[in-house]
Every structure is written in C-alpha cells, then in structure tokens.
C-alpha cells in the first residue's frame, strides 16, 4: 500500500478489552506522511479508543502498534480546564513544547484566533477553544497529527475553513493525519483513506469505495445518501413578524 519510509504509525489487528468486553477489536490501519486517514462510525464504535491506542495512551492492548515518529500533535475530543488553574492561551500553546512567540502567533493566525492570545482559556467559547486546540497541535510542526473531532462547536463556515486548513497543513508540513469525524460530507471530500468502525472495522478504503460499501450503507442508512447533499440546518426557533426569535416547543 505504501512506501516503508513514509509510514508514521501502523496498527495491526489492534484491540482493547475492558472487563471482558471489547471496546474495539481487530483494527488494522496505517497513516503515511502527507495522507489523511479518517475514522468514522457511530457513537461508541471505538473511534477515540483506536486513536488512543495509536497514540500510546493505552498501555495494554491486543495486536501490535508500531510508531515511527515522536513528533505528534494531538487534539483530544474532550478537555476541561479547571478554574483552579489560571491558564491563558499563550500558556496553553507552550504546554508540551517551548515555542517561539512567532510560531505561536503564526499557528493561532492560521486557525483565526490570534487575537485571543492573552485571553484566559476558561473565558473562550466552545468554537474558539477548539481553534486554539488545533493551533496548539499544529504549532509544534508535528509529523503525525491526531485530531479527535477537531471542529466540534465551530460554526459551519468555520468548519469548512478548518477542514481546508487541515488539508493544507498535511500538504505543507507533509504530515500524516489521523482524523476522527462524524461529519460524513466533509470526510468524503478531504480524505485519502476512510476506516469505518463499529466496534471492529466494517469497511475501509478510498472514500468512494467506502461510500459504495454495503456495510457502510447499512450502518449510516439515510445519512450516507445525504453525504453529497447540501447542508441543511434544523430550525429550533420561529421568526415572528417583528423579527423576534421565538423558541419552538
């Protein structure tokens, strides 16, 4: 499938068991330089778990994991900053690495939040925080980026821009990206390789192959057919004549 020199991480038949129950089982995948691999699947299908196995966060697992790089940038799915810890964006950017102020600024500018550098992390909105998380991960110029739902809480236009940015970063830094998303339409347009999980690997391959796969259709049903349709936003409010918004019941 690929040149040995380009490989960054390889999982072979990897899985993890907790209390005799498999969280995820039999996952084989590899991430190569300059390529984007996307994990999709329903909630609880083991996407984050698979990413954590690849990152080495879990120490006990089945199968084999080979990592060929230590320059890793990670955007976790959930992160909460306690009030007891005063942390500004600038402090957070140098959390795992000492970076020049110019590198920090550049990364924040790329994700569109350079004006927040002296703000306290606790005062950011969900979308702003997500952009800071992404900026921190790319500022280290990693060889492997692991992004677990990197655009959650980001507004729709920002979402597209960030996915384009992710694509651009993989080309510019020639880094491999392991992306987790439940956002099927963006996934299909920006990815080199898709792995569809549901406790095990349902199917994998190029986006088109996966989209045509029977198991994929069975898993996502109607959603799958919407992949290419235009974005629809659900109204949870009504507009009254005077322009006021009223909540729908």
């Amino acid at each position: 499938m690929s040149d040995e020199n380009n490989i960054l991480v390889r999982l072979k038949d990897a899985g993890i068991r907790q209390n005799d129950k498999w969280l995820v089982k039999g996952v084989s995948l590899e991430v190569n330089k300059g390529k984007i691999v996307t994990l999709i699947g329903p909630n609880g299908s083991g996407k984050s778990t698979t990413a954590k196995i690849a990152l080495g966060i879990y120490k006990e697992y089945d199968g084999s994991v080979e990592k060929f790089t230590n320059k890793i940038g990670y955007v976790p799915q959930k992160i909460s900053i306690d009030w007891t810890l005063p942390l500004r964006v600038a402090d957070f950017m140098v959390l795992t690495d000492d970076l020049a102020r110019s590198d920090i600024n550049e990364a924040l500018k790329l994700t569109g939040v350079d004006h927040l550098i002296d703000k306290s992390l606790g005062n950011l909105s969900g979308g702003e925080f997500q952009r800071v998380l992404l900026a921190r991960a790319i500022s280290r110029k990693p060889e492997l980026l692991v992004l677990d739902e990197p655009v959650q809480g980001v507004d729709f236009s920002g979402e597209i821009a960030l996915y384009q940015l992710i694509k651009k970063i993989s080309e510019k830094l020639n880094c491999g990206i392991l992306l987790i998303s439940h956002d099927l339409h963006t996934v299909m347009s920006a990815t080199d390789h898709v792995v569809c999980l549901n406790g095990h690997v349902c199917c994998s391959g190029s986006p088109i192959d996966v989209a045509n796969d029977k198991e994929y259709k069975a898993l996502f049903g109607d959603l799958a057919s919407q992949t290419l349709s235009i974005y629809e936003h659900k109204h949870d409010h009504v507009h009254s004549n005077d322009g006021d918004l009223k909540q729908k019941n």
Binding site: L55, G73, P86
Partner: protein, 267 residues
C-alpha cells in the same frame, strides 16, 4: 548571625516558603490536599523512628512518607475503595501508630505539641542547612520535571500522547511532597504543613491569571505569612505553626476582595 533563635526561625521559614509556594500550586491544581495531609500524618511515625534509632529526623520522615505514598499507590491499584477512603485510612492509622509508638518510647522526653504544631525554638543551624539545601534540591527537580508535570496536570492524555512521560513526573512529584514535609516539619508541625501548601496557593489563585504568576504570588504569600506569623509568635508567645497559618488565612481573606472585584468587572 544565626545565634539568635528568632533569626534562625526566620531563615528557616523563608526557605520553607520558597518551596511550599510552587509545590502548593501543584497541590491545588492536582487536588492533592488530602494526599498531602496523609503524608504529613505519616511523618509522626518517621519522627518516632528517628528518635528511637537516633537517626536524622528529616531523612527518616522523608523515607516514611515515601513508603506510605508507595503503599497508597499500591492500595489504589489493588482495592476497590475510593481514593479518599484510602487516604483517610492511611492518614489516621499512621497518626495512630505514630502516637502509640511515642507512648512506648517513655525513656525519651517528647514534645508532641511541638511536633504537631511546630516549634521555632527547636530550629537549629543544622535544620537550617537541611531546609536550604533540601529546598534548593526540591526546586531544581521541580524545574526539571516542570513540562511533563504541568502538561499532565492540564490534560494527562495530551501529555502522554505527545511523549512527555507524565507517569514518571507524577512519581517524582510524590517524592518531592514527602521531601517538603520532611524539611518543614520542625518549623510548621505535621498537622499544619498542608495548610502552608494550600492557603498561600489559594490566595495566589485569586490574584493571578497565569500559572507562573500564581506561583510567584504563592511564594510572596508564603513569605509574608512566615514574617507575620513569626513576629506574632515572638510578641504574643503563640505557637509558630498556627501563627503562620493564621497569617496566611488573613492574606487569603484579603485576596477574596480582589476576586469579588474581578467578578464584578466581568458582569
């Protein structure tokens, strides 16, 4: 210069405050205050051992507290009891064992109150050396493990994923906790050491907006508490440890006004 007991106590207090400042911030951030208490309570056993074997108090306390910390980590892995129950179990049983052991050592005259609450008269030049050299070592080691320790305090998995080895940093930090208790026990007393760790750090949180800023304020708060506490101890003949803690508490209360203002500003 160090002939005067008060000067000795003052320098001992300054040395302790420089170390409890940064360590105390981590205790607050990582929610380790009860853990600190447990280690401090087990120090009594360490003192007893030191007296019966005519061994250095600081070293004996350091070893006992480290052993208790290791024991605690093992218990956490092997039992289903919640963490706070295990901490309580170890804290009170080690205090109990320590006091019973003192009861058996009737041939030595023991100042139990001094051990529990600190005694400025007890600080000698030797203790000063232990505090300053030990304290410098603690700070150097803390500086060395700063990155992994701080990163894993913010988010453990992030630190692990980006190759910082947080598990090792945590183990070393536990030893540093045992070490600060060992060097400050004579000065502040084992019941109040955790107060010296937490109260200045809590005060600092109210007046700072960055981690390093919080550490600086925590050190300043600790130093002020030592000055105020020791002077009042000298003038009003109050025990040194409690006086320092009361001073720290007053600073904390003053810092609350500052936080009230910031909340008002936000709204």
């Amino acid at each position: 210069m160090f002939d005067d007991f008060f000067i000795r106590a003052l320098f001992a207090g300054i040395g302790v405050a420089f170390v409890t400042g940064p360590l105390g911030c981590f205790v607050v951030w990582r929610r380790l205050s009860y853990f600190g208490d447990t280690l401090a309570h087990s120090a009594l056993l360490g003192v007893t051992i030191a007296f019966s074997l005519e061994f250095s108090i600081a070293l004996s306390v350091f070893i006992t507290s480290s052993v208790v910390a290791l024991f605690l980590i093992q218990l956490q892995k092997k039992t289903n009891l919640p963490g706070d129950a295990l901490l309580g179990l170890l804290a009170h049983s080690s205090l109990g064992v320590g006091l019973v052991a003192i009861g058996f050592l009737s041939f030595i005259r023991f100042d139990v109150m001094g051990l529990l609450f600190g005694d400025i008269l007890a600080v000698n030049v030797n203790d000063l050396l232990v505090i300053w050299i030990g304290g410098a070592l603690i700070l150097i080691i803390l500086k060395l493990i700063w990155k992994p320790l701080f990163a894993s305090t913010v988010n453990y998995e992030l630190a692990e994923a980006e190759g910082l080895n947080p598990e090792r940093a945590k183990a070393i930090f536990t030893l540093l906790m045992a070490a600060i208790i060992a060097i400050s026990i004579k000065m502040i007393g084992l019941l109040l050491i955790t107060g010296m760790l937490i109260i200045p750090a809590a005060m600092a949180r109210n007046v700072s907006n960055s981690p390093k800023g919080m550490i600086v304020f925590s050190v300043i708060g600790g130093l002020l508490s030592v000055f105020l506490g020791l002077f009042s101890s000298l003038n009003f003949n109050t025990p040194s440890g409690p006086s320092i803690i009361v001073a720290a508490l007053m600073l904390f209360i003053i810092s609350l006004f500052r936080i009230k203002q910031t909340i008002k500003l936000k709204n």
